[in-house]
């Protein structure tokens, strides 16, 4: 943190990076979204609800959720290929699945399957939050019933100050970072993930900062969805 109180990329502690998003970017998928959180870029595709691929997985009274998470080898500074069964990737996928399970109204789609495919195209910190936000957009774009948006945001403790939406440099300098996924309407938290140590007194502040970030992200996502919906509604009304 410089003397001016600005962070390494010129942001203030409570300032998010620029978020740009579009939906329906893929023609084959039922729903899709492309989202940029600063320099972190994610592509999400949703297929379904559709016939379950494996008989054994079918649940007779609801849809099953399947998340696949993938990182492009060119997305980081050093080029590296990961195998599909990388434990880190599977863990991320299960985090994302967990955060959506309470929100998607799966009981409306018995015996079917909803697939969410996430592809990281470029990473600059906050991969999990970007994935969750992109997946929310893609699910809504696919017309899948959800009780609320799921908005995710990270907050961390960088040089004795709580900051929001960490980039790669801030993340890599041994910071305590927490990612939360929140339902903005009800303020319920569906995911809180932290991998490092943090003093318990400081957690409260991080959580409130992150939830404030979620609220802001919700506005951005809602605008994307609403603009797209109004555009289509207009076209259909002609």
């Amino acid at each position: 943190m410089a003397l001016t109180g600005l962070r390494i990329d010129g942001r203030r502690p409570g300032e998010l990076r620029k978020i740009t998003s579009t939906t329906s970017v893929l023609s084959q998928a039922d729903g899709s979204a492309y989202l940029e959180h600063g320099n972190t870029k994610v592509l999400a595709a949703v297929y379904g609800p559709r016939e379950a691929r494996h008989r054994a997985l079918v649940v007779h009274d609801r849809a099953i959720l399947n998340v696949e998470f993938n990182v492009a080898p060119f997305s980081t500074g050093e080029r590296r290929r990961r195998t599909k069964n990388d434990k880190r990737l599977l863990e991320m996928a299960s985090f994302i699945k967990q955060s959506f399970e309470p929100v998607v109204i799966a009981a409306l789609y018995p015996r079917s399957q909803i697939d969410i495919y996430l592809q990281i195209i470029q990473q600059d910190g906050g991969i999990l939050q970007a994935c969750i936000n992109a997946a929310t957009l893609a699910l809504i774009d696919a017309g899948i019933a959800m009780t609320d948006y799921v908005c995710a945001c990270t907050a961390g403790w960088v040089e004795r100050e709580a900051v929001i939406d960490l980039n790669h440099i801030e993340e890599s300098s041994d910071t305590s970072e927490v990612t939360i996924a929140m339902l903005p309407k009800s303020n319920k938290v569906t995911l809180a993930q932290m991998e490092s140590r943090l003093h318990v007194d400081k957690l409260e502040e991080l959580l409130s900062l992150a939830s404030e970030g979620c609220k802001q992200i919700h506005q951005v996502l809602d605008k994307t969805i609403r603009d797209r919906a109004e555009d289509l509604a207009q076209k259909m009304a002609v």
Binding site: S24, D30, G48, P49, R50, E51, H60, A63, I105, Y109, P110, R111, S112, I140, D141, A142, G143, I144, A145, M146, T147, D148, Y149, L183, P184, K185, D222, I225, R226, D227, R228, A229, E230, L232, A233, Q234, K235, M236, A237, V238
Partner: protein
């Protein structure tokens, strides 16, 4: 607490007078007026009420919740991004694009995915594969004959995995899967043509979904967004060869010009779908006429697709006057 009533679908005509009459109360209830409930965007048609997930549609408890909504704390909230529709007391939200949700009597085009015990599984782009029972198809050799064990054994001779069929939704199963039937000469295996998949929202229910265009091309508009464009086959009602219904062979005399018009019509439909325009026989014909000034190979270019779609829409508007 003051209870307020807002119409979930604002009417275009009395929008202003409604506002003047001061129906809106101060307080924490959600604003239902379109022009000021979200910043910046003003809809041309104020009858369209767009909602996004978790948005309150109405706080009035007199309404019933329909598809695309849920109730929380006695409020009706949307669970989808779409347009609010109201029928008397029933409020539902129609998503702008989603997978196909069928009704009995719908004409659908589907692809056989599986041959199972006495039934075929058919992909109709719905939430589950539809089922075509052996007992709901016409078998060769007499329309009304009993199904025998030998029929069961040679099911793959009738429909094989990957075959395209046109069928009608006959019933629903308990879990929401569709049961189809092909018990009419209109329905059955598809040949001599090309397949296009568009968003199901773009095909509307109308009198007929089988069209013969003036350019010598037949079009089947499946309500599930699957469309079949094929060479014209003259209807011969007098001699019906039931063997022929399940044949896998295209007719012999499809000329190169026939093929070109099939491809052209298919590309026109793609162009319309890309611009999210309702697809029916009229607009396809206009799009076809508009496309004639372009070479077939140019019709995949985005700007030309756009041009064709715009021209077709204006031609339809002209016709309506």
């Amino acid at each position: 607490m003051n209870i307020s009533f807002h119409s979930p679908v604002p009417r275009a005509t009395n929008e202003k007078s409604r506002k003047k009459s001061g129906k809106r109360h101060g307080g924490n209830e959600v604003d239902m007026d379109l022009d000021d409930d979200h910043e910046g965007v003003v809809l041309k048609d104020p009858t369209i009420h767009v909602v996004t997930p978790a948005e309150v549609i109405t706080t009035d408890t007199a309404f019933m919740r329909g598809h695309g909504t849920y109730i929380e704390e006695e409020k009706v909230l949307s669970s989808l991004a779409g347009v609010v529709e109201r029928v008397n007391k029933l409020i539902s939200v129609k998503p702008l694009h989603s997978r196909y949700t069928g009704e009995i009597g719908d004409v659908v085009v589907g692809r056989i995915t599986e041959v199972a015990q006495k039934r075929w599984k058919v992909d109709v782009s719905a939430r589950q594969d539809a089922v075509l029972m052996l007992s709901s198809v016409n078998l060769p050799g007499g329309v009304q004959r009993r199904k025998q064990e030998s029929d069961e054994l040679q099911m793959r001779n009738f429909f094989m995995e990957g075959d395209l069929v046109v069928a009608e939704v006959q019933a629903f199963f308990g879990d929401g899967a569709y049961s189809l039937h092909t018990r009419s000469l209109k329905y059955g295996k598809l040949r001599n043509g090309s397949f296009i998949s568009v968003s199901p929202a773009l095909v509307q229910r109308c009198k007929s979904h089988f069209h013969s265009l003036s350019c010598g091309v037949d079009v089947i508009l499946g309500l599930n967004g699957y469309i079949w464009v094929s060479a014209h086959v003259p209807e011969s009602l007098d001699e019906i060869d039931t063997e022929q219904v399940y044949s896998n062979k295209n007719k012999d005399d499809i000329t190169p010009s026939d093929r070109e018009s099939i491809a052209r019509v298919a590309n026109c439909i793609r162009a319309l779908a890309q611009e999210f325009i309702f697809i029916n026989d009229t607009i396809i014909s206009f799009a076809y006429e508009a496309s004639l000034q372009h070479a077939l190979k140019d019709m995949h270019k985005k700007e030309i697709m756009h041009e064709i779609a715009v021209e077709a829409v204006s031609a339809v508007d002209n016709m309506k006057g």
